[in-house]
Homo-oligomer: 457 residues x 2
């Protein structure tokens, strides 16, 4: 199959731990399996989690982000941990695991962001990844003096411009430009440090960056938008794609589409990993796992979930409508929304399952639209294997319903099965995120241009 260029005998799946304060299920913080809530702001809690994921040889830990407070923080653990500070402290407590920070191209400056990632990559010894987002939450705009969130197409236009700008900044120091020759007094070879003079449609950035080239050259590019613009962007830039799918079919379609788009741009589709989210309730029997899931769902609060639905779909429903069918107008109001592809995903659930509003809210409570499964370790491993082998995934973004326990049970019971089946590493082979993902380290474009121009010796 052309979409999977990697040798099937050595191909391995990739696993990230998607960290969310309080766990991914919106009511997890209320359940007794969760730790005391004041651990949610304790860095050691996250350091311990990352160490546990590193012990399981996970590729990376991933932090979502958005520069605004969710309105429904009244009902669930929905504040934000700033990813750069948090992951830098996590880096200090770990050695091998990748560190993927979400950052917005809409609400940051290229020079500042380039510095943050170069520094994170340096201090972690080459473990930085960037989940590139354009920011879904429209209320972010007013935190930055804007009256309105730029529309979807504009956000992606800036995202492309931004990627070109920061790409040049990260290339601005060639490898080896820091010479530090005590005798001659040459500290940095400025012939190998380049102003970048980026002038794009929206952004002007002169450069060079003020720090030498980092271990990975630049962070691994991760992308998480699945709209048409998002897919085009991913096909061009992304080295890994995070995505949400409820059904194998939908996952396969997305997988084939993204890989084909990359191939059409002349890229090796094997160098663009597709990583759907999966939120697993695990217990020794399937019915026990389902009961656990049900317990979590019973702790949800409709005020919260209706607000989430409003955010995902732009529609406000009332508590009086909870036990009726999902109203038709929900399905008919498409259009320009923050969260294009997540909208489609919810519509698909409605059409496929004809749920009541309450049932739909429970479907979304687990992981905001990501796939939730409940089963035995074998069943969960089997699901991952199926998606992996049937062209829907190169690995997964594991989204434990609660933390840390929901991760611990996955690491202790599912990971060993994946290993027995030859699907997942027992230990790290490389030291950088790029190596875990099987990606080559890029050469600075300026160095490449210089060596191409040099005469053959």
């Amino acid at each position: 199959m052309s979409a999977q260029s990697a040798d099937p005998r050595t191909r391995q799946l990739h696993l990230n731990l998607f960290v969310y304060p309080g766990g991914h299920h919106e009511a997890a913080w209320r359940h007794s399996v969760s730790p005391d809530p004041d651990r949610l702001l304790d860095i050691r809690f996250y350091q311990d989690l990352a160490r546990a994921a590193e012990l399981a040889a996970f590729d990376g830990v991933f932090f979502a982000d958005g520069p605004a407070l969710a309105d429904n923080v009244r009902y669930a653990s929905r504040f934000r941990l700033e990813p750069f500070t948090w992951l830098s402290a996590v880096a200090a407590a770990t050695e091998r695991i990748g560190l993927i920070a979400t950052a917005s191209t809409t609400y940051t400056e290229p020079y500042n962001l380039a510095r943050l990632f170069a520094s994170l990559d340096h201090l972690s010894g080459g473990r930085a990844g960037w989940n590139i987002v354009t920011t879904g939450a429209p209320q972010a705009a007013r935190n930055f003096g804007l009256d309105a969130h730029p529309v979807h197409a504009e956000r992606y236009e800036r995202a492309r411009d931004f990627l070109e700008a920061v790409g040049k900044l990260w290339d601005s120091w060639e490898d080896g430009a820091l010479v530090a020759d005590r005798r001659s007094g040459l500290f940095a070879d400025t012939d190998r440090i380049h102003t970048v003079d980026h002038e794009g449609p929206l952004l002007k950035v002169r450069g060079p960056l003020n720090i030498p080239r980092s271990p990975q050259g630049r962070p691994v590019y991760v992308q998480a938008g699945s709209s048409e613009d998002g897919r085009a962007f991913a096909a061009r830039y992304a080295e890994a794609v995070f995505t949400a799918h409820q059904t194998l079919r939908s996952g396969q379609e997305f997988y084939a589409d993204i890989k084909q788009r990359a191939a059409r741009l002349g890229r090796d589709p094997g160098k663009l990993l597709v990583l759907p989210g999966i939120s697993p309730f695990i217990a020794s029997t399937e019915s026990e796992a389902r009961r656990l899931h049900q317990e979590f769902n019973e702790l949800t609060q409709p005020e919260y979930s209706l607000e989430l639905l409003h955010r995902l779909l732009g529609v406000r429903l009332t508590q009086g409508e909870l036990d009726g069918p999902v109203p038709r107008e929900l399905i008919e109001t498409g259009g320009e929304r923050g969260n294009g592809s997540r909208f489609q995903l919810v519509l698909d659930i409605v059409e496929r399952e004809q749920p009541t509003v309450r049932e739909l809210l429970h479907r979304l409570a687990g992981a905001r639209g990501h796939r939730v499964i409940a089963g035995t370790p074998e069943q969960v491993a089997g699901q991952l294997q199926q998606w992996y082998e049937q062209g829907a995934a190169d690995g997964f973004n594991v989204m434990p319903p609660w933390l840390p326990g929901g991760f611990d049970v996955f690491a202790a019971q599912v990971v060993p099965i994946l290993r027995e089946r030859g699907l997942f590493r027992s230990e790290y082979e490389g030291g950088t995120l790029r190596e875990h993902y099987g990606l080559a380290r890029p050469l600075s474009r300026y160095e490449a241009a210089r060596s191409a121009a040099a005469p053959v010796a």
Copy 2:
């Protein structure tokens, strides 16, 4: 003396370690006392330094910053470590020492900066300080799409607006707004979380912040500009002021001026610490210390120092002029420059000492205009004591000529003398930077307003 309101029996001096990659002397990296240059990008090097400073019970470590690359990086270790990432990793390796990050009000967004500091304060357990700068380096502008660096007055106007905005963001969550009551399902009490709706002359920020109030409420405000605008700003906002003085007289004048300005604004002058920089060469005899200083100076490169002079003064001199007097036109071209107060300081040296250009460059090589002294541990301790007791300092920003050794000798030989004389703590009493500096923790303005409005029970 009204300017020193603290009880003289308990008043203690404060010491920060000002960390500069490669040490403060511009040629330190070339000297054999310095470690291998590839340690300069190794986070463990800085973690070890901070641990050493913590062992000496220093108040804080301080990182300078600027969003541009210095042109003269060809000749000295003048790249930048991004302070938030770097200090977060340092936080993870330490427990008590304060962590002071420089950040620009000209080239960052209030919402993003407020998040970074709140997070650093959370993950360090209340150790964050902010060295508030408007950015001296004019070449920063073009890294942010601007054709020119905003002029001095404009930068300070934005700085004031910025402080008002981030102050409100840091207050936007009252203490205790994160309730996390599992039974009722109330995660955050949104009645105690406030939109801030800041609309200043230049900045609009809605809020609230997306993270609960941090251990110190907000970072300790440090300021480091000594121009007229800078002093006015410091008197209003700063809790500590970093400053550069070559003579006791100049230090005393500045000290008295800043304290009086604060008092005139109704502030307690004891809550605004004045911390001049000091770069000490220490050896067991004075002549040995001078010889060491001389060795460092002999490793300087005129290309570098002339560039620094250009940056500080806006004047370009040539190597041919090195052994002549400082030209008159240097002294006459004042005006609108990035570095107003540093300009004055250099002029003072010229007028006082009538140095050749080379001698002037050597004076600046040690610490870019900060005071360099060479002597025995007793002499160095004596100098600090004199400035401290004679109204020029509440403590010092220690700027070791080289690292880590230049710090180690200070900690091992000068600090014990200061302790014997009752001038410096032997161990920490508090856990936060605010406590080390003797500052109270501020209450959220919104909480203060609410409790003032509440009826007496």
